[in-house]
């Protein structure tokens, strides 16, 4: 029997193969086919998502660089720019959690570096299956250790993230990593190969047989048994080498030695050359013989598509080459001139003078096929919506429900995770893990950047439009709780198989929701990443939009902390509705993921956030904590635990107690105010048209919820802090 044609083995459809032939007017050779297969893979080309991504707002007064570059850039004033981007590394992490996650950090850091910024912070939104399964404990342990090892070694603090659990992630963990960098506005570089005759210089690690076909094989197909063959495409990260790469590249940029800079990620040299050439509308002449190899027996197509880590491609004028070599030598990095910028728009690869591949740069980078795939609302939704947990009767006492929710893995403290990360290095972490948003000081000024990553898979599952909108709103709310002004968004869209109409429908709805929220909150999208095929035969992950929100804080000294102090007045901002659909309460107490997620009134959301910002600016807030997973009860408990100060509150409204305490109605926050500032604060709230309820007062070791029940801060802390360590007690499984 005949075995399948090469292009199919490489992941290209027959139609795509014909399109290649058409572009070239001839049959591609093996190397050329490998280049197209990699560049036209879902991961590199966004062929299924592009059409939808276009509807995201990308313009705004603060945006310096939007989607299309390696990372987004916003202006933070004083001649400084904030660079940020989020990316997914779920597929490799599913089969080798430590290295999969570690190399994910390496990749996103190089994206930020390639814009010319010093990486200053990392965040890691993670999703796993339940921890009672050894496999999931192994995944969590490996991923966290991998992120820690890489981030800690390169001296970039990991200051935030998320860890959430759902059965749908047992076979498909979600590993997203976000990196932020700072750079002087005028030092920003672009990934453009400007200047015919300039040199392409490959800096960093030698090229080996790493992840050949990694992007096309791993991230563009569902993990089935064949992922055994694709296994060698998981790579080993070298954070030490990355650290040298960071320092050397920043030195070269500072010295003005670079015309352009481009990271090497998916599709390796092929992607870096064709993208940087296409952006500048030029071509590239590449000498494969000049690429430093780890393994001399590598074939052309392997050198062209290898995804070896810790490499950067610099575009350098011939005059500056000696200086570039000197910097690399000082930092112990290898640097090699592997090609030149040409005027003919072709990517041409030679080996010993022989041309082994010649294709138009644009055809690789910009002319991949684009699909508007069939979409259809999942049939199960209707049924799910009818089963609204808000009206199910309450199986346990409110006090027990409180304990169940506070100790639930999604809600409980993630200390076990974030203590494995260096959150202090670089010395600018004003607020780190545990805070609603992380806050990074801009050295030598009172300004700071606040950042939060958020996404609720249950909401996305029950209503992808709301899932997308809530992700944006909650991230912005967390940022606003620090007094910062939310300015821009990056994101990771984690979905199943786009060739299934239900998945594609959820994807489109999610983007519609994100776009709506981003417009309302004036926080344009500057970039992100799409991760499809997060599914195995039996299970797909929830449609999970993870949003990374950046905000600017003018004076970090005025930042409210999410911690109560004694004898303050406690307020609930916003209104509580009977909304238990998709909530933590419904999940852990009723065992239900059903109903509709809480609604979202974006006008209310905007009002709340501007109030929080203004209240911080005029210094009337002592603490602010957003009210989301677990509702009012959890928000109060967290502020109490962080401040080691109890409270006594009356539970507002005529809602049933469990609804009032655990509803996850949006656009709410729990704040505390010094008594003498209460009037001023209430006045401010009225002027912003934000509903507020005076709940009670802070102080003492006890947490008193009306006449319903009471607990102590100490007891709550034991539950909250003890939950994950308890579940991971037998976590010792090694890699």
């Amino acid at each position: 029997m005949r075995d399948e044609p090469l292009h199919r083995a490489l992941g290209l459809t027959d139609e795509e193969y014909w399109a290649v032939e058409e572009r070239l007017g001839r049959q591609p050779n093996r190397a050329e086919l490998a280049m197209y297969a990699a560049m036209w893979s879902e991961h590199c080309s966004y062929k299924s998502s592009k059409a939808h991504l276009r509807s995201l707002p990308t313009q705004g007064p603060d945006v310096l660089v939007g989607p299309g570059e390696n990372a987004g850039v916003v202006d933070v004033g004083d001649g400084l720019a904030c660079v940020f981007k989020m990316e997914s590394h779920s597929h490799p992490s599913a089969i080798e959690p430590f290295q999969g996650a570690a190399t994910g950090v390496g990749g996103i850091v190089r994206d930020v570096l390639s814009v010319g910024a010093r990486p200053v912070a990392l965040l890691d939104p993670l999703r796993f299956g339940p921890l009672d399964e050894a496999h999931n404990r192994w995944l969590l342990g490996g991923v966290v250790a991998g992120i820690g090892q890489y981030g800690n070694s390169i001296g970039v603090p990991t200051v935030g993230g998320e860890v959430k659990f759902a059965p749908c992630h047992t076979a498909n963990p979600t590993v997203n990593v976000m990196c932020i960098g700072f750079a002087p506005r005028d030092a920003l570089v672009r990934a453009r190969a400007e200047g015919i005759g300039n040199l392409f210089v490959l800096i960093g690690a030698h090229t080996g047989r790493d992840g050949i076909g990694g992007v096309s094989v791993l991230a563009s197909r569902t993990l089935d048994e064949s992922s055994h063959e694709s296994r060698p495409s998981v790579q080993i990260g070298d954070p030490f080498y990355e650290k040298l790469l960071i320092e050397a590249c920043l030195k070269m940029i500072e010295a003005g030695l670079l015309v352009g800079l481009q990271d090497l990620g998916g599709a390796g040299i092929t992607c870096a050359l064709s993208e940087s050439a296409a952006r500048a509308d030029v071509g590239a002449d590449l000498d494969l013989g000049a690429v430093p190899l780890r393994d001399r027996s590598m074939e052309d197509f392997e050198i062209l598509t290898s995804e070896s880590q810790e490499r950067m491609l610099a575009i350098v004028t011939p005059e500056n080459m000696p200086a570039v070599e000197a910097v690399c030598e000082r930092w112990g990095l290898s640097s090699a001139v592997i090609g030149r910028v040409t005027g003919d728009g072709q990517v041409r690869a030679r080996l010993r003078g022989q041309v082994v591949a010649e294709v138009p740069a644009r055809s690789l980078a910009d002319e991949a096929p684009e699909y508007t795939r069939p979409m259809q609302a999942p049939s199960y939704l209707e049924e799910l919506h009818e089963d609204d947990p808000t009206f199910s009767e309450v199986p346990v006492s409110v006090a027990d429900a409180f304990r169940l929710v506070l100790g639930a893995p999604n809600v409980a403290s993630k200390r076990w995770v974030f203590e494995q990360y260096d959150s202090l290095v670089q010395g600018n972490t004003i607020a780190g893990p545990g805070a609603p948003a992380a806050v990074i000081r801009i050295e030598g000024s009172l300004k700071a950047v606040a950042v939060s990553t958020d996404g609720n898979g249950r909401y996305g599952y029950l209503d992808p439009f709301l899932g997308g909108a809530h992700a944006v709103a909650e991230a912005a709310r967390n940022v606003a709780c620090t007094g910062a002004r939310p300015v821009a968004v990056t994101n990771c869209l984690n979905f199943g198989d786009p060739e299934r109409p239900e998945v594609m429908w959820s994807f489109a709805e999610t983007i519609r929701g994100m776009a709506r929220a981003c417009e309302a909150l004036s926080t344009p999208v500057t970039g992100g990443n799409v991760s499809f095929y997060n599914e195995t035969e039996d299970s797909a992950i929830y449609p999970t939009a993870v949003v990374g929100m950046i905000g600017i804080l003018e004076d970090y000294r005025l930042m409210p902390r999410p911690a109560f102090q004694p004898s303050h007045v406690v307020y609930l901002l916003g209104e509580t509705f009977p909304e238990l659909g998709g909530t933590e309460y419904a999940d852990v107490v009723l065992g239900k993921v059903s109903g509709r997620p809480p609604g979202l009134d974006l006008e209310r959301e905007v009002a709340l956030q501007s109030l929080l910002g203004e209240a911080a600016r005029v210094d009337v807030l002592t603490s602010a904590q957003d009210c989301s997973d677990g509702g009012l009860a959890v928000a109060l408990a967290e502020s109490a635990m962080f401040g080691e100060t109890g409270f006594a509150v009356t539970v507002p409204g005529d809602l049933p107690a469990h609804v009032a305490l655990f509803s996850e109605s949006a656009s709410r926050a729990v704040v505390s105010v010094a008594p003498e500032k209460a009037d001023a604060f209430e006045e401010l709230a009225r002027s912003h048209r934000v509903a507020f309820t005076r709940l009670g007062e802070t102080g003492g070791p006890r947490m008193v919820f009306d006449d319903l029940f009471e607990s102590t801060v100490a007891e709550a802390r034991d539950l909250y802090e003890g939950s994950l360590p308890g579940l991971l007690d037998v976590r010792r499984e090694a890699g």
Partner: protein, 234 residues
């Protein structure tokens, strides 16, 4: 005159910039020194910062201790002038034999980033000269390989000659196993050499000087250092 403090950058050093900043905060002149340099640019004191020199490969500090600059550090130490190793710097000093014992993986294996308390056990070092014995300092740790170990004989010598400078303790100063984050023998967080001029510790004093971003338990160390550099104890 302004006291000059050299901060050495090895490939993989991360807290070098923080250390330079801390030295400046306390009125010292911070002098960056490269691992290939063969002298300390005339500095009165030298600080080996934290980080992951050579990626912590093989053993922490195992490769860095061969760096050309280490000869200069050795000579500097031999003449009784102040040498401070923080975290990876401490590990390098142990590997170089300038301090006794060794640092192995934390007892729980995991990297730990956390605020801890340490009790000052001696004032007879340039870094603790201004601190009362028994005083408790709050400082952060962030390491995966900070478990101090040594053979019985060495431990006995450390005890007899009073070489322990810091011990992990409770906020109230009790030396308990609960307060010991990494399993270090006798809660040892920091050590000195016989003549007291070479000190190493796992906690990060340079990350404990600015109240905006952390605790302030590191302040007295830098104050002591800079004043003792100005008025060398005879």
């Amino acid at each position: 005159m302004t006291p000059r403090v050299a901060v050495v950058t090895f490939p993989g050093s991360n807290d070098d910039r923080d250390a330079l900043r801390a030295v400046r905060m306390f009125g010292g002149e911070a002098i960056p020194v490269w691992h290939r340099d063969r002298d300390l640019h005339g500095a009165e004191a030298v600080l080996l910062p934290g980080g992951f020199s050579y990626g912590d490969y093989l053993r922490t500090g195992a490769i860095a201790r061969f760096a050309p600059v280490m000869e200069a550090v050795r000579d500097h130490a031999a003449t009784g002038r102040p040498v401070l190793g923080v975290c990876n710097g401490f590990q390098i000093l142990c590997e170089a034999g300038l301090l006794p014992g060794a640092l192995i993986r934390n007892r729980g294996l995991a990297f730990i980033c956390r605020r801890v308390h340490v009790r000052v056990e001696t004032s007879r070092t340039p870094f603790t000269s201004g601190i009362e014995v028994g005083e408790v300092l709050e400082v952060p740790i962030k390491h995966g390989e900070g478990q101090f170990v040594a053979d019985g004989e060495t431990l006995a010598r450390i005890g007899d000659e009073g070489l322990v400078v810091f011990r992990y303790c409770s906020p109230r100063g009790e030396i308990t196993d609960h307060a010991n984050p990494n399993g270090s023998t006798n809660n040892i967080a920091g050590l000195r050499n016989e003549s007291g001029n070479v000190v190493g510790l796992m906690p990060h004093p340079e990350h404990a000087v600015d109240p905006d971003v952390g605790p302030v338990g590191g302040q007295p160390l830098f104050e002591s250092l800079l004043s003792s550099v100005l008025a060398p104890a005879s």
